[in-house]
Symmetry: D2
Subunit: 285 residues, 4 copies
């Protein structure tokens, strides 16, 4: 990490806390769980998700509207219509929303609606995008590239900080390897190392790492046990009908059960999980 | 796993418990921690280790006397003299001992002294050795190869079972990957998958995975959180003076602290850690 | 490659020939060698390079003006000034120029000057950029991502074709692996497979694969022997003084010798290498 | 390679030539092609192979009688009966034979029949076997492990030399990687590096690397173009009926055509291919 300046931990308790919306803080004592579908598919779908998650310990909602897809013929996301869906459920259920941005041109619409901007693995070294992220007010969720070294990963964060935005959360989401049994290999050693090297919060995405829903809960618990500040997990009202990554999405019931199971682990490592929330009051605008 | 027969879990609670010596059982509710140095270096060294670990929750002692070394000019292990050291400390401190065997020719001396035989990563597909292990009375600790798929790993265990020995414990110890920051990548997704696929106990070696002692405790806790049945961890009275793998060995104090920290995690996932033992009575022979 | 439509070879002799400038065609019987420095550093540097290469079998000039760098504090390229340097040497020496583009915003200036646009490994799945490349008149040199499967690679090309630009050349440049001895692993099996799967031309970058200049010539010859349509190789007037990737750049003398050594290999596999060119007449504008 | 002593090239023309039987030398100007099936299946099968190959430029015959198989339920090889088959065809057709040995116990029968002993990838770091190989009179064909670094590979050879046998040929056979399209990734950069680092001959196995027969000929030509001293290639009278690795075996016709195509490449890099042999006179014993 010889060129790193801004992301380095300068003393053992040096820790950035990144604020997402009004209520959520990543990097503090609370474990932050972000849940939601791979892709925003409709208002009805997102309402089903938000209705369930809003009264649990899940702190924020995820859902992609601009989707990086291997094939140009696959569903590319709902775009601005999807952003409006996210804004609607945020207002109704009081959960901040996280969504992916794939290009500088998408920054304007996404910044108008989202509480946190996700940069996907395939764009971790899209340096022109990283530079532009330095200028936005929202915090950034930066996912590790599929074959990025830790040095490349933290230096990508360094780009964002160096261009003006100090609010970056790192996300380990599995690296590419040789075994077809799992989609990727979740590298929790990287999480431990990142927590020691940098003051930025570090969360884990066990869904993309595993690629199989039955592996997700145990990996989620492991992530919290090794010091991660939070999780981002895919869930869907009807996983089998998910338009993308159906094999890895949890049902909403399993998502709730998993989240609650984290509490004991969090306590075991000196952290906490927020208590399930009372339903948010409806806000009329 | 199309060819697997004997290692497959046939129903959700199908679980083999492997007995090591009289007192230790791997695969039951107790988390089993195996600790000790990379290599047996002297009786004094092993006594220092055993004296400390015998009154903790550590259940068994490790120490290599036949060492697989990349270079023919590196220390190759104490051989039979080392086995005698292991036998002496076992008798004095009441801890069963685990040690590596690298060839069919070493089986006779090792079986005369050790409670459990470890097969290292480099021999995971040494098929002639696997066949011979089917005929020994001791349980086998089979480490995953550096680039072994899960199918190859469980089929290596299948060899041992098919040749007559049902007592095999699988050990995930990190796979080879691209990032020089850690020595290997600990693949806890494999642990979760193996616990679902097979009835054999699964333990984790975070020391060889990380290659850096400061990463070991968090990875050890993650391993227990995701369902591992135990851990094998390297520690040394003076880590910096270890003849091999010095960079990853814990001090004995750190080993004891780490072991005790596992209790809360074990409980959080419905397991237990044995209570620290009273000093074993000296047995005169 | 289940989703691929436009990039698939429909019959054994189906082969696209991509025109670069007036004189150069990639995918025909001639092997096309592209040479030049990692980064454009000055007019003097590029003139030194072009002067030597223009009278060899080297067909085109490379040089980066927008540089994707791991660290935000490393030299980021000369930008538009560098494009003017490329245009000047192209006019003077008659060699078409290839240069990297990292974002949609860079398309306008680069398209005003360059004969071919290179997309680097880190942007292979920058899908918004790929879509925009469908609309430019220049041919595209698409480099394989560091950990891209062949399916992901050809589907990235499919994006460009599906959005309107049929002139794509694929470039294998090494994939990430575990051995620190070489920078990456040159995957010539991928070259053979791509030549069988797709009608697009395929070239090889042995410089970034090897990361060490002493490995480059032998790998370049191997690439031609296995059916590659060309090569892109880094060279520099004074390799040790290169501002980036100094360790892998050939001297100009070695570059000329390597290029000439390809002739016998090309003939051995039924291809040809252009004869060294007479110095291009100066064109007054 | 800090610990290497015996395998290092001490001056640029330092090159060991390994004699296999009376007629074949690996590491000289002649390219040595070894051909034959994955497994010896019957005398009839081996006679079909030998009859065709004996009158080509193929220099030696391969065929496994002890087979390392992932599953204990797969065909494990003909054993000593297979060795007798190899001896019979050797005598009849005058081709030296290469076969794999998996354990110290197999050394005695194999040394009684074979001209060269192959150590497979899974046993590259079977150190007790390597030590024993130092004491046999036959030359050793040492295959690179599936995830072995170059340092580990040459140090495995160093074990054999250090224990008394100077006749070791290194064989690159593909390394494990992430793309399921090919079985492994052929690492020709390793071949180039090994030729520069060590005085031992280096050959290439494109069959196991590619795993698909249609990729083998181009990779074989690439291997010779980058400086390999020879090839070991799988072929079978009826590839689809091969008991193992059927997908990668060439037909005998394709094997002959491939071998002949190497001549022009060999000449292009200053090497030679033996002229097809006249049928060997029958030797009556």
């Amino acid at each position: 990490m010889k060129d790193a300046k801004l992301i380095l931990k300068t003393h053992p308790t040096h820790q950035t806390v990144v604020q997402v919306g009004d209520r959520v803080a990543i990097g503090g004592s609370d474990i932050v769980v972000i849940g939601g579908p791979c892709a925003v598919e409709s208002l009805a779908q997102m309402e089903q998700v938000a209705q369930v998650l809003a009264i649990t310990a899940v702190a924020a909602l995820r859902g992609g509207v601009y989707k990086p897809r291997t094939s140009p013929y696959s569903f590319q996301g709902m775009g601005v219509d999807g952003l409006r869906v996210l804004a609607a459920v945020r207002q109704q259920y009081g959960l901040p929303v996280v969504t992916e941005v794939m290009s500088v041109a998408q920054l304007e619409p996404v910044c108008a609606y989202a509480d946190m901007l996700q940069i996907g693995s395939r764009n971790m070294q899209n340096f022109e995008l990283l530079k532009a992220l330095g200028q936005v007010p929202q915090p950034i969720l930066l996912k590790r590239g599929l074959a990025a070294t830790l040095e490349e990963f933290v230096m990508a964060a360094e780009y964002i900080l160096a261009h003006g935005n100090p609010n970056v959360v790192l996300c380990e989401r599995g690296i590419r390897s040789f075994d077809p049994y799992t989609r990727n290999v979740l590298d929790l050693g990287a999480v431990v190392a990142l927590k020691q090297l940098t003051h930025l919060p570090v969360i884990v995405d066990p869904s993309h790492a595993a690629g199989k829903r039955e592996l997700v809960p145990d990996l989620a618990r492991a992530a919290i046990a090794c010091g991660a500040d939070g999780l981002i997990i895919e869930c869907h009202p009807v996983p089998a009908e998910s338009v993308s990554d159906a094999r890895q999405a949890l049902s909403l019931e399993d998502m709730v059960a998993l989240t609650e199971s984290l509490r004991a682990i969090a306590i075991a490592v000196g952290r906490s999980l927020p208590m399930p929330q009372a339903p948010a009051p409806l806000v009329l605008v």
